[in-house]
């Protein structure tokens, strides 16, 4: 396959691809892998794989509670990873970075602890929680469950026909009853990049807290949480060239410090007696049990890798490849993009339909040519319902994606049409 380097001259996709062993895979029928499913999960560069393996092979021990040399090494590696992640997203303090198992746990953690707060922030039957119709299930179900527990009312922003958040009702939707506004920064289904600033401003005006699901943003955009203005931000390691099994909840320290714990157990306590327990300060308070040690180390290596590339360059590559793909895909007859069709305020996930061929059949046909896309509802059923479709096919890109791979996708779609005679 020819690999072209369409973006900034310093950004050498061919060279980057060499860092990812799986990209050399040959699939069934000796087809090269064309991986266009990075919004689902990203691949891992050798440095991340090695960091995890080396940790197990040489520095393995439990953290915090082990005071021997291996324990000190493991603790330094684990807490060093927290420092790296904090720096990578511009967190004002390392103690604001809570490690979770994935973004889903991070969002559930926030929903749980906000649901059990007593006092002025207590959520009750007259409270409202606001989300959007384009959320991933992981940012819908936790709030539905919170509403069941507390009696609060769930409300949501609608979506315009061109796949943007409908902010027309902002002032009515986010009002003095609103306790929490939780929304995605970048949609995994539509690709939309949402305008956070006006929503955060309005939410804070009425005293509501803002939770941002940055699962698709942190992998792709330069992020500075210090200036973003959100109260909580969730993201996930496996989508940003890091390991599975690790996510991050960032929270404003003063808020974290006043919130009750979520899971109880080792590491999160100050003292325990049979009658009662007291809890450690954040972030430990929210990290019960043996943490994801090797996974944090791997995530630290992942952010090192991303920083070595520069998140501006990563974002620029994403923008360029998305623009190219939007253009090329719209040349395919019968193809309809669900989501913004222009590369403005847009991430790289492109969901589409092809007239007469069901998305699963598209993905099956593409797969037979070595092209990996996702088909289904992408854990975002409501936004599919909004656009009157049950499922779509989705191509998504990352720092290792080439224009040649987009070309392969377009060819693959033409082949699919021929196969199904449409």
């Amino acid at each position: 396959m020819t690999v072209s380097t369409e973006s900034a001259s310093a950004y050498d996709v061919a060279k980057i691809r060499e860092d990812f062993p799986v990209l050399a895979r040959r699939l069934d029928g000796d087809k090269p892998l064309v991986y266009l499913d990075s919004a689902n999960t990203s691949h891992k560069p050798q440095v991340v794989i090695d960091a995890v393996a080396d940790h197990y092979a040489m520095h393995n021990a439990n953290v915090a509670r082990a005071m021997h040399q291996l324990g000190a090494e493991a603790t330094a590696a684990f807490e060093g990873a927290r420092d790296k992640v904090a720096r990578f997203v511009g967190a004002p303090s390392r103690d604001e970075v809570v490690f979770t198992k994935n973004a889903t746990e991070a969002l559930n953690l926030v929903a749980h602890v906000l649901g059990s707060v007593r006092g002025s922030r207590q959520i009750g039957a007259s409270s409202e929680i606001v989300i959007t119709e384009m959320e991933h299930h992981s940012n819908i179900v936790p709030w539905q469950l919170l509403c069941e527990r507390t009696g609060a009312r769930l409300r949501w922003f609608g979506i315009t026909d061109d796949g943007r958040l409908d902010l027309g009702a902002l002032d009515e939707l986010v009002n003095e009853h609103t306790s929490v506004v939780s929304l995605t920064w970048v949609s995994n289904a539509l690709g939309t990049v949402n305008p956070l600033a006006p929503i955060i401003e309005r939410a804070h005006e009425v005293g509501a807290l803002v939770v941002v699901d940055a699962s698709q943003a942190v992998p792709q955009l330069p992020v500075d949480l210090g200036s973003l203005g959100a109260d909580f931000v969730a993201f996930t390691g496996h989508k940003m060239v890091g390991p599975t099994g690790i996510g991050v909840l960032w929270g404003r320290y003063d808020l974290l410090a006043e919130l009750p714990p979520f899971l109880g157990g080792g590491e999160m306590i100050a003292t325990v007696s049979m009658e009662r327990s007291t809890y450690a300060a954040p972030p430990s308070r929210f990290e019960a049990g043996t943490p994801q040690i090797a996974q944090a180390v791997g995530l630290g290596a992942a952010v090192d890798y991303l920083e070595s590339m520069g998140m501006k360059a990563v974002a620029e590559h994403e923008r360029a490849i998305t623009a190219y793909a939007l253009e090329r895909l719209q040349e395919v007859g019968g193809l309809r993009i669900v989501g913004p069709t222009e590369a403005v305020d847009r991430g790289g996930a492109i969901s589409f339909e092809l007239a007469g061929v069901h998305p699963h059949d598209i993905s099956q046909l593409l797969d037979s040519q070595g092209i990996a896309v996702r088909a289904g509802h992408h854990c975002a059923k409501p936004v599919h319902a909004r656009f009157g479709v049950q499922s779509t096919a989705r191509a998504s890109f990352y720092l290792y994606t080439t224009t040649a791979e987009v070309d392969a996708l377009v060819e693959g779609l033409e082949h699919t049409k021929r196969f199904f005679k449409v």
Partner: protein, 149 residues
């Protein structure tokens, strides 16, 4: 990958012209099944007369495999006794889960034999079984209802 084995002409025909589609009255049980992985859905009704599967009507959305499978089910099961229909379900399920090692019997499974190739695509087996599982569920409910009555 044997794509032609997966997408046999019979399957594509059933997909384009599904048999017996649409929800009809009367019925004793209606179920709604979803494949959570991909979102394929089916609403399926069963009407029993005595011990006979008098009607299976359905409304479904999904890929060619799941749609064709519902259509073939419709052909195969209507008119059979509940026992015989359950036997066919067992045969079809065995075929799907046999990883391509089971030789289907065209006498009994008729157009269902076209699904033999699906068994080699683990991700698609659920598509082929969606309507069958819905039918099993609905029929069990209908039978229980009758017994209780």
């Amino acid at each position: 990958m044997d794509l032609d084995g997966l997408y046999q002409e019979i399957i594509l025909d059933h997909y384009r012209n599904p048999h017996g589609k649409g929800l009809r009255e009367p019925f004793e049980a209606e179920v709604h099944h979803v494949n959570p992985t991909c979102g394929d859905e089916i609403t399926l009704r069963v009407h029993l007369v005595g011990d006979t599967v008098a009607d299976v009507s359905y409304d479904a959305e999904g890929c060619s495999i799941s749609q064709a499978s519902a259509s073939v089910l419709n052909d195969l099961l209507i008119g059979k006794s509940v026992g015989a229909a359950m036997g066919l379900l067992a045969d079809f399920q065995a075929l799907m889960q046999g990883r391509g090692t089971i030789e289907p019997d065209e006498e009994t499974l008729e157009d269902g034999v076209a699904f033999a190739g699906v068994a080699k695509f683990p991700a698609r087996i659920k598509c082929a079984l969606l309507s069958w599982m819905a039918w099993k569920d609905a029929t069990s409910q209908a039978v229980t209802l009758k017994e209780d009555a």
